[in-house]
């Protein structure tokens, strides 16, 4: 029964990462890019919990996960701040505005 749970969590995690990356590829909206990345990040925290569950070090894994969540929030805040400043500059959230630097 338990092995069944682990496989399910692993598959759901991979699906979430694929969903996040698909969102990253298909969208042209800055906030949706950030949302896609955050979805993928959530899947990763699930992997850490799964790892702690499998090797019997659940308290250590929980400590890791709480730290990761804090880091994620800071990254999300910085990302949304950048998106907000880009919105003020261009008037929309289209990622195709970001074409000044190339070559």
């Amino acid at each position: 029964m338990e092995a069944y749970m682990e496989t399910v969590i692993l598959i759901v995690g991979f699906l979430l990462i694929v969903a996040g990356c698909y969102c990253l590829i298909r969208t042209y909206h800055l906030l949706k890019v950030i949302i896609g990345v955050e979805v993928a990040m959530k899947a990763v925290t699930m992997f850490v919990i799964l790892a702690g569950f499998i090797n019997g070090k659940a308290p250590l894994a929980q400590a890791f996960v709480i730290t990761v969540i804090v880091i994620e929030v800071v990254v999300a805040v910085v990302a949304v701040g950048l998106a907000l400043n880009l919105y003020r500059l261009y008037g929309n959230m289209d990622i195709r505005n970001l074409r000044k630097l190339k070559g």
């Binding site: 990345v37 990040m41 990763v44 790892a51 990302a79 950048l82 000044k100 630097l101």
Partner: protein, 487 residues
């Protein structure tokens, strides 16, 4: 308590105290004094690491572990070896140069700049000193977050664009590294370096299990750290971010951040898992492709900072080649090249700042003949270029020689040959840069041009002296490493 313990204490305490003072000072005063105060952190770091290196030479031992027993409950463990002391020295040197440049190129938000810089120093020092993979990841994120804000804080359109591209790539790198860490944790039950090392050691030798989990973890972590390094299949963010940032921030990013955030991760991975089949070949291939493609891209740019940024991609390839050998000689060559790259890449970005401050442009097609008007900038740029290209008396020659010798010793003569031949490309793109910017006839519009003064000039002089001295004194450095039992 030994000197070396004070070293690890100081490199954390001083930047944090300066950060606190920076926050507590009244705003007007902080704007005026923060850059001056910030000089203290790299100066203390340089002196402390130099003292640590001297003590290592006296004790003839090169590994130290230091525990901080905080309130008896939590024990934080840091370890220092001779290579991490060299990296700490590089951090101090590059941040000193960056602050000297920032004194001129950062007109406003000086308090914010200084505060973020202190965060960046704490993050990088932490990465080098910690002894478990999860703390390494936490400090990696501190470095990343400070870098995004430093690139974007002046709110130019290109700055925001470069920062956003860097952020998205960097979060992808974090996802890969953290998934890799989760898999390693699943296998070993701990992320402490010694236990991870033991688990890695159990995977080599006859009859060792081929664990798909560990190989997946290695693939993910190599990809993640390659994004952070800017190695070639993953390099797209690097020129954009380094070009668009304020030049003082470019000095930091190209001079030290990509090496601590990326290359140090590779040093840790190769330390534990370098003998797994396939890891060395992967690193060597990434390195070779980086060298060649980075140099070819650098040849067709016309933006001063963009050429230098692509040059960083190319030089990171040499460091990865050195690490791919898995031998002590290769590691020594890689760390020596980290040091040399830190000096000459900071010099070149400082030159870019000087040229932009005096002429108002970064476009090399609009420049010409600056040699007569800006002799210090011209000479330091030439010295940095010769060191990058590996011309004998300069420091870059020795580190490239060590890397190629290590490759030859481990039988990878194909990679050694490619590394040798690709030096010609390095010479090509920098000769193009030098010829267009500094040599030739002085354009009429630059008749009134003067040499840059103040701290930027002194940064150029300091870095050039370090480049030339490191080249001339390199045999003594090798004797030093031999004396403590590394070679």
């Amino acid at each position: 308590m030994q000197v070396i313990e004070y070293t690890t204490l100081l490199v954390f305490a001083v930047p944090l105290v300066i950060l606190l003072i920076n926050i507590l000072l009244p705003r007007q005063l902080a704007e005026k004094s923060s850059i001056g105060l910030a000089y203290l952190a790299p100066l203390v770091q340089i002196v402390a690491t130099a003292a640590g290196l001297v003590q290592i030479a006296q004790l003839k031992q090169h590994e130290f572990a230091i525990s901080w027993n905080l309130a008896g409950a939590v024990s934080v463990r840091f370890a220092v070896n001779v290579f991490s002391l060299v990296l700490l020295f590089c951090i101090g040197m590059v941040t000193l140069a960056a602050i000297m440049v920032a004194n001129r190129t950062v007109p406003q938000k000086r308090a914010g700049f200084a505060g973020l810089l202190m965060m960046l120093i704490v993050g990088m020092n932490g990465m080098v000193l910690v002894t478990d993979l999860f703390s390494l990841y936490v400090f990696l994120e501190i470095v990343g977050i400070s870098s995004f804000v430093l690139i974007a804080m002046f709110k130019s359109d290109t700055g925001l664009e470069g920062a956003f591209k860097y952020l998205v790539m960097s979060v992808l790198a974090s996802i890969m590294i953290l998934t890799g860490l989760a898999f390693v944790f699943m296998q070993t039950g701990s992320l402490q370096y010694d236990q991870v090392g033991a688990a890695g050691g159990a995977l080599v030798g006859p009859g060792a299990p081929h664990l798909a989990l560990m190989y997946t973890a290695m693939a993910l972590m190599i990809a993640g750290f390659a994004i952070k390094t800017g190695a070639v299949p993953f390099h797209s963010w690097l020129p954009d971010a380094h070009q668009s940032a304020n030049t003082a921030v470019s000095v930091l990013l190209s001079g030290i951040v990509i090496k601590i955030a990326g290359i140090y991760g590779f040093i840790v991975i190769t330390n534990f898992f370098g003998r797994l089949p396939g890891i060395d070949l992967t690193l060597a291939l990434i390195g070779t492709v980086s060298i060649v493609v980075g140099a070819l891209f650098a040849l067709r740019q016309s933006h001063f900072k963009r050429i230098v940024a692509y040059s960083s991609v190319s030089q990171m390839g040499y460091i990865l080649l050195g690490l791919s050998t898995g031998s002590v000689l290769g590691l020594l060559g890689a760390v020596a090249h980290v040091f040399n790259h830190a000096t000459f890449k900071s010099t070149l970005f400082t030159n870019a700042a000087a040229v932009h401050e005096q002429t108002g442009t970064y476009d090399i097609n609009e420049l010409g003949g600056l040699e007569k008007k800006m002799p210090v900038t011209s000479f330091s740029s030439l010295a940095a270029f010769m060191s990058t290209a590996g011309i004998p008396p300069f420091a870059g020659f020795w580190s490239k020689l060590l890397i190629i010798m290590a490759l030859w010793n481990s039988g990878d003569w194909v990679f050694a040959a490619i590394a040798l031949i690709a030096s010609i490309f390095t010479a090509a793109y920098f000769l193009r840069l030098q010829r267009k910017v500094f040599f030739g006839k002085l354009l009429d519009k630059f008749a009134q041009l003067t040499e840059i003064g103040g701290s930027v000039k002194w940064a150029q002089i300091m870095l050039t002296v370090v480049t030339i001295a490191a080249g001339l004194l390199f045999p003594f450095a090798l004797r030093y490493f031999g004396g403590i039992g590394i070679l």
